[in-house]
Subunit: 249 residues, 6 copies
Amino acid sequence: MKIRIINPNTTRSMTDKIGHIAQSIASPGTKIVATQPDSGPRSIESHFDETVSAVGVLDEIIKGEHDCTDAYIIACFGDPALLAARELTTAPVLGIAEAAFHVASFISTKFSIVTTLGRTRIIAEELLKRYGFYDQCAKIRAAEIPVLTLEHEPDAALRLIIEECRRAKEEDQIGAIVLGCGGMADLTEHISQEIQLPVIEGVSAAIKLAESLIGLRVRTSKFGDLAFPNPKEFQGVFAHYSAGASMQT
Amino acid sequence: MKIRIINPNTTRSMTDKIGHIAQSIASPGTKIVATQPDSGPRSIESHFDETVSAVGVLDEIIKGEHDCTDAYIIACFGDPALLAARELTTAPVLGIAEAAFHVASFISTKFSIVTTLGRTRIIAEELLKRYGFYDQCAKIRAAEIPVLTLEHEPDAALRLIIEECRRAKEEDQIGAIVLGCGGMADLTEHISQEIQLPVIEGVSAAIKLAESLIGLRVRTSKFGDLAFPNPKEFQGVFAHYSAGASMQT
Amino acid sequence: MKIRIINPNTTRSMTDKIGHIAQSIASPGTKIVATQPDSGPRSIESHFDETVSAVGVLDEIIKGEHDCTDAYIIACFGDPALLAARELTTAPVLGIAEAAFHVASFISTKFSIVTTLGRTRIIAEELLKRYGFYDQCAKIRAAEIPVLTLEHEPDAALRLIIEECRRAKEEDQIGAIVLGCGGMADLTEHISQEIQLPVIEGVSAAIKLAESLIGLRVRTSKFGDLAFPNPKEFQGVFAHYSAGASMQT
Amino acid sequence: MKIRIINPNTTRSMTDKIGHIAQSIASPGTKIVATQPDSGPRSIESHFDETVSAVGVLDEIIKGEHDCTDAYIIACFGDPALLAARELTTAPVLGIAEAAFHVASFISTKFSIVTTLGRTRIIAEELLKRYGFYDQCAKIRAAEIPVLTLEHEPDAALRLIIEECRRAKEEDQIGAIVLGCGGMADLTEHISQEIQLPVIEGVSAAIKLAESLIGLRVRTSKFGDLAFPNPKEFQGVFAHYSAGASMQT
Amino acid sequence: MKIRIINPNTTRSMTDKIGHIAQSIASPGTKIVATQPDSGPRSIESHFDETVSAVGVLDEIIKGEHDCTDAYIIACFGDPALLAARELTTAPVLGIAEAAFHVASFISTKFSIVTTLGRTRIIAEELLKRYGFYDQCAKIRAAEIPVLTLEHEPDAALRLIIEECRRAKEEDQIGAIVLGCGGMADLTEHISQEIQLPVIEGVSAAIKLAESLIGLRVRTSKFGDLAFPNPKEFQGVFAHYSAGASMQT
Amino acid sequence: MKIRIINPNTTRSMTDKIGHIAQSIASPGTKIVATQPDSGPRSIESHFDETVSAVGVLDEIIKGEHDCTDAYIIACFGDPALLAARELTTAPVLGIAEAAFHVASFISTKFSIVTTLGRTRIIAEELLKRYGFYDQCAKIRAAEIPVLTLEHEPDAALRLIIEECRRAKEEDQIGAIVLGCGGMADLTEHISQEIQLPVIEGVSAAIKLAESLIGLRVRTSKFGDLAFPNPKEFQGVFAHYSAGASMQT
């Protein structure tokens, strides 16, 4: 089976890291295609970044539809374009925030999130509400590190994240921590050992859940609001979307 | 004062209609700039359409920032890119769904929504929850007409909308109806007279609320998650966003 | 147009202050009638005060109905008698808590309230729930000053309010502050400059929103629970309400 | 022990009926004082009626405070002035809607309400939310009979109520019905036998719950928002409330 | 009337204490049967303990059905087996957590819970949500004392509980405290005097509420999900439940 | 890896069926141990049945702990004893209702449940709320067939279930259906083809999710309320639980 994992930002080193983590957790028979949009922001740290990144995510879904993809993963903690992506395919599509929340809820009754910048807390809060995990999240915490610091100063970033995770463990009465950024995917084991608490990271979680859905042969429902979009004309730089029907082949 | 009303789709006749309604309701001193993206879908009827349209909305905000704009309105009932747009400016930004819900809540304790296609119901439901009006909405109804039918077969569309509004009045125990599409803006008075119930339409509502906010001199908060996005590099067709700092001038 | 702004307590200096603020924010063509009940408490700081004040508010609505009023504002942060008032008129009626919440939600994703006495926090909480803004309010704070201290010791009151607002800014991760008392209406600008955060005050907010509703020509719905009360006999000091039909003229 | 049951409207026959039901269900040692305001509406069928009736309820509480009252009951299904009444006394105060909801939740997992006029549904809905029983109520139904029809045409009223209760039983998947008007108190047994489902009526429920609270020696908390109101000056017809301190004796 | 109060754990001294408190608060005509399961844990401090204890509770209900019982009380703060117990009888069944929440809501607008071990907080949280009191509870606190410490080191336990109650009073802005363990039933008055705040304890609350329900002659509804279980075969140590029909005699 | 799937009732044919489905969906390297309690009801159709079955489930967990089990599944749609089971092991434990809800939420925005008897609807409702999927479930429907009819009259049962599923598809505006009974596990494909809508069944869903969690090496958190129960004495038929410490080996 083939899983396409899409890093919605355009930082190659992050895409590579995500792909590496994904492949290392995937089952032997699973082929990981780690990809990133041709166009979009280097990192996603605001509603603006997220909104712009969404189009690139959809392009990667469309490419995947021509590449016999069995499942898709959107590897940014805001799950950009998730519902739109589901419209474009019958393959399952998962976001990494979504995946992490689901897994955390299986092994604990309360978890906290530790994310990068405080200004993205509202995005996580919105997702918790939409997916139904709002009451199961004790607190959304931010280590206040820009996303790319995870790439350029990994040691400093790690130290700050561990500090925030420690506060979460001491103050939040939780059973697990969810790491709130795709770029933290390689830190999970280290942090978990350091603070002695289960730490859930969305990239791995999404890969294994995607394999589950493939194994179950469940497909994104084409009844109701996730049906393929009605074909229509698009203008300008998006004119290539006009051939909507081709999305369905 | 100058209000930029952005039709997120690329159908000129709809932009003109929206601009016309907007100007007719605006105060004498208000200049309406009705605009639409250079790129994007002809109509918005799915998560996919909405996600793609969002980038065009942001471009129009950025243009507006170089045009002394006092407030912005996003004139599609899904309020695409609303929070991202608010990040890009200190001027107030309103969505027409948001505006319609607020106004409906001032004059009734329960309202129903009548929208175009059933598949977009979930978008309205999500917005009701996000803004806090979920309990005040009795039912989200769809007349099952494609958006562009409002342009091409207005009489047939009107008849179907009135039928659905009548069912809403009879069955939903409501005090008002919210029309769930920017393209219905010119039908409000006709429908209201026909069914004898207050009918709220978001374009007018948003114009008057925007004038209120301008009059109050309240500005989109730059503290917390609506602060200007951190400047960063963008790739590909979005490379022009890299000069993030210029957004703030 | 004529807006009747009702101070539900019977302290003339507060009515004058509210009237002054209202007139200063109103559009040139708007005539403000600032009024207060003949009967009722000097200040409203409890459920008891609020319940007693409600009758006076309704009397002022009835007077307004004989004075060609285009919209009403109830200028106490508990929004006393709001739904009852809406039954008595087709003109729009707004509460200042309601108005402030709506405006705050347009420019921020989270706000805190700073009110007078802690014992009234529960009233604000109830309103947040009823109007749908409960999740958008980070915290309800009290400066623990009696309402009339705002009249008699304005400098001391201001200092305490600014201190509480500063704590809100530092601790609550918010984008705006809502002032929780009609008597604070004149402090908005001062506080906002002092703490460098948008500060919303309900009197101004309500005036501009009321002008919006008048401009939209939307009227309080007479379908369902906001219909005119069924005429009936009243006893004792309320016997004059028996001529219910006259309310509708 | 002495329980003061206050009919918030001024229809003597209804007060008598309520008093009769109350006495018949009360324990041997319980003295029932059934009373009604000197001033107020003949029946309560709107927000306006309810708001006006609230002052009379408070007057009856104050009278009760000079009459060694052990507990109070507010016998109108909108529970008018409940929190304000609790401020005025250390004795327990119960509303009949509140009492009926509590009892229904002890013997069923879902109940429906059958009330008088449809326009008062919103009042019941608000109470369900405030008290926490919103999810336990399957449906709020109205027999569409004016309150006083219960007094003047009891047989016709009974027939309509039974019809609505029957529909509730057949359609709502419920375990019990709550009668939504104090004036229905004498119909409980008849309806219950007719439709073969537990029927809860608030007057009886409130009497027995009040006896419980008296027996427990729990008193309305004077900490926080139910503390006695701060004494202050009242104007006009409410001037007699100025001697606030005397409320506490 | 006869009330069977079931201590779900198998510690005799606790059963005796609960029986003693129950009898002391009961009305003269009420006979208390205090009982405990033959099988089960010495104390209940986990989901596991609670699940195992539930069967013993049901056995005690069945015994009660052969002993002319008028009402049942389940005297553990997790209310184990409450809905199952209600299926087995037409007599009212109350849990002590449930009873305490109801009573606390009658005399305050916000309360905090002080329970034994932190790990049981999630059980109380679940109950608050199920019964509808989640928003009325300010905080669930734990004194971090094992349940049996209440039996073996009552003075030390009392001191820790009072400390936690004091913190609740100072920090939680509440009107009352609910004690979160049946084993604390004898401490209520002492704690209340010490911290000067109403303290609610579930055993007493449940006794008086049960007397109310008996007085009201309301019975557990046999319509819908609380109907008697369908008779069926049980295997193994539960084979005696096979004669399901006999439960109904 | 070894997954122990526990049928909480004692009907061998159902255990066999569940085991067969489980094995057929499991990955090649997964060994399925399908088991049922020695003691308990033949079917689970009430709160009583569920409560009694819970002990047997826990016994099966304890047996599994001596059998190198990698994950557990509780194969009854009420997810009996789920949290208690999680306390007893570090291996992941899943319920089939839980698993089905999670999977349904990945491929649709709204789903309906079709269960056996109407009286168990409340159990499903409670689970939807606890897990966070309440808003994503359009309707809980019952085909009104006793559980064992699925074993003894499979054709008649299937027909009724398909009829109810068809109504769900036509009336509920959903993207998927969740089958609400472990005994329906073998019907999924047939029903899905018949009604042309994705049909989710919990046994398969749970197996694949369990494999995911094993692959992720996440373990049930032993911090907070899912920690191993404190060892203590148990009486009577549960005396063997006294050696609590041994559970942890």
